[in-house]
Amino acid sequence: MYSGLIREFEDLLGPSSVLYRPEDLLLYEYDGSIEKGRPNVVVFPTTTEHVSRIVKLSAEHHFPIVGRGAGTGLSGGALARTGGVMLVFARMNRIFELDVENQRATVQPGVVNYELTRAAEAHGLYFAPDPSSWKSCTIGGNVAENAGGPHTLAYGVTTNHVTALEVVLPDGEVLRVGSTHGDAPGYDLTGLFVGSEGTLALVTEITVKLSRKPEAVKTLLAIFESVDDAADTVVDITARAITPAACEMLDGWTLRAVEDYIHAGFPTDSAAVLLIEVEGLAETVAAQAAAITEVCHAHRAREVRLARDNAERNLLWKGRKNAFGALGRLAPSNYVLDGVIPRSKLPQALRRIRQIGDQYGFQIGNIFHAGDGNLHPIVLFDPRDKKQFERALQAAAEIIRHCVEIGGALTGEHGVGMEKSELMPLLFSDADFALMRRVHDAFNPDSSLNPGKIFPLSKGCGEIRVRHSSSSRLRVD
């Protein structure tokens, strides 16, 4: 039933830009999450006009559409949950403008996050959001998910750096929202579209702010004999109103796995480390580093190391950013969770995660953005063992529920996607869903764009429900 549409796509884009053989589609049924969803056709547009045409053609045939960047997402946001047409933006990767004086860049959505920073670096500028996948993820994907990263603690997440968008609506209409200068009058549609997970529009052009590289950077590695001490240190740093540029925690189990693989210099006999970075004026950085060191020692840090040079700093960050890959060596599959909590609740949340791990029989690792309370527990499991897989999902749901119970939210940076749509009623009421649905329908009335994401598939909300949807992984039993 897609053959007519495939021909039309090939006429529009050329045969090399349309995939439809099962073996070609296989790659696109996964992203970085544990979800699956296979598209029927994958297309590679290079222009906004292409995107608009593809959307119109798909609409004529009543096929759903899903946008995708590099497929590094961790919540199933870029998967074709109900099949249909997948638009991969990888070839829309031009940097249209790098405006040094005004500190702006205008890019196509397929530009890789790191490539923009590389292009801006020569001018002393960079793009601040830095997800762990920054060397492969695209800015379009960052916009869809409102991506974070370690350094968003001080500089804000993607939405704080986007000033304007060009989007294509599900009827093919091209819309420009926001303004290059960032002070557009009227409703903040840019703020609405960023983080809407591709459920309102397809983003085809993005204007972002570029940040100025700091004058001075200091990277500290604080080593602890207990996870509690490390967690208390983070609470205290926050409470004393010290805002580092980044404050990451790796627990002992995780850092041993990382060290075996990366040799970043992490002490393998410790219970936890904090990787803390301070940036800014030389005078500010010196004072902040001293204050942080003092807080670490007040909480029984065994040692606080200062990275001697850039090489050592880069190695520490390499260890942090490749940690998930390192854990991949320990088990057939790992499940990276994403929850967010008030920072003052960090020690109790980590203790609860440990309990949940014990209860379900998993060693749960923690490597996360401690400074902004954004947890990333990692559950290692073997997906071929159905029972174990089921237990892993139950443990995950329980951890997320605990985050909500102590005043947190379902996701800090990975998005709701397919992964957490059934958990949304933990936070939102019928009235909340009704309004979100009306906003959704104002732009995407037929749910042709990225169907089956964010909103619970099951009907009725309010009460926490039991196992409604077989296609959804995470639920609250």
Binding site: N102, N160, H181, P185, L192, K420, D432, L435
Partner: protein, 502 residues
Amino acid sequence: MSTSSPNLASAVEALIGASRVLSDRAQRAIYAVDDMVPSVVAKPSSAEEAAEIVRFAAREKLALIPYGARTKLRVGMPPSRYDIALDMTALNQIPHYDPGDLTLSVDAGTSVAKVNAHLLEHNQFLPLLVPWYSLSTVGGAIASGIDSPLRQSYGTARDFLIGAEFIDGTGKLCKSGGRVVKNVTGYDLHKLLIGSLGTLAVITRLNFRTFPAPVSSRGFVASFASAENALALRRSIVESPLNPLTLDILSPSLAQIFAEKTPATPEVAVFRGENGAGPPDSNPSALPPIGDWFRAHEWQLCAAFAGAPEVLERYARDLTRFARESHATSTAILDDSTRPSLWGRLRETFPMLLEASSAATIFKIGVLPSQLASLLASVQKIAGQVELPHMLVVRAVGTIYFALLPASANDETTARLAQAASQIIQSTSAVGGDTTLLFAPPALKPSLCAPDGSVSPRLNTLDTGSSDLLLMRAACAPDVSAGPRLKSAFDPHNIFVPGRLI
């Protein structure tokens, strides 16, 4: 509707009790917007009571305007209908504050000054230093979308508002975001409330991240013979590693107002140790006069900065050197005790301008920094052509507040204001900027938006000759109506301030 409808008043009384309803003409007149007086004023004591009234308005198709302290009512287009004033100031508690997490949840009707006095006990603050500071409510500050001098370093509300509770147009209590500093759960609907002028929802509660209050701060003032030189210093600062708290450039005439006048609104300190106005818990007093830091008839660049002693020293040294390189005619460093007198005036610029002229017309112009010099020249030339006094401030990275100040409001000055306004809009648009008319005499607003002088429904489609004038440009191409779509998603019965923005 300009007269009270007894039936309407008693219907509202039946919902929330007579003691919470004002129907007397004089009382209602206080809630007039652009000369329109509501038929009834309701002052609910809870979000649920407010929702009751919204549901009633939705059933009866009555137009409703939510209120805080009524300080910025002149912002926006004249409403096309107006029946019920919803005074939210009885919702004024701080239900959640976790100093250790730097997060805050506050009822919409709470005054910003009260919130900051509370936060200051923990040496924190909310960088929402809006005009009419001692009066403004948190809800009004968000709904008006008015920024503050601190946007230079803390950004605008969209950078620190992390969640909201509000009543949608069907009378349902809704929420978005949460109380955590990093959150991507669901749509960021709370961002849409910023600057929405009450057109989408009645805000009942707002969640913010809070910030450590600067322990020690200083001010810096440099005077210049030309705007170009002041802009050159601005650029040197922006391109340096310095990150000042505020960065504003004042035109000579505005500097003169600052030197000669004191804002009528009482002053409260924001940070501890701001001796100019006494401690935050003391009685509000008038802002003391500023010192003789300005050279008469010159442009002034004002920056504030904070930090440890060695940081303050670095700022003072670098700023003074950059100023010299930009041909400053004088520079001054202001300490903790004197700085607030100038920054209080920077914050209160709008009230001071509106006091200076009853017909004050204030534009907000958003533009890229590279266009600032040519646009400043254009708007001043336009003011000269229509022979109206003008003042301006360039705030942070590229926002110009430009005021025309006729001595009186009459048909003749309104015509000149309208002529200037359309030229300002054109000049701004030509360099890729956006113009918003913030404050204007009621007669001027409609004449700008529709050629026939009426408040035209054509505004909705943005196809007027002045489609860049946007009080209400919902940031979209002329053939698309994303703004109205959003408006009807939130407010399907069009009861929230119809005509004000959309």
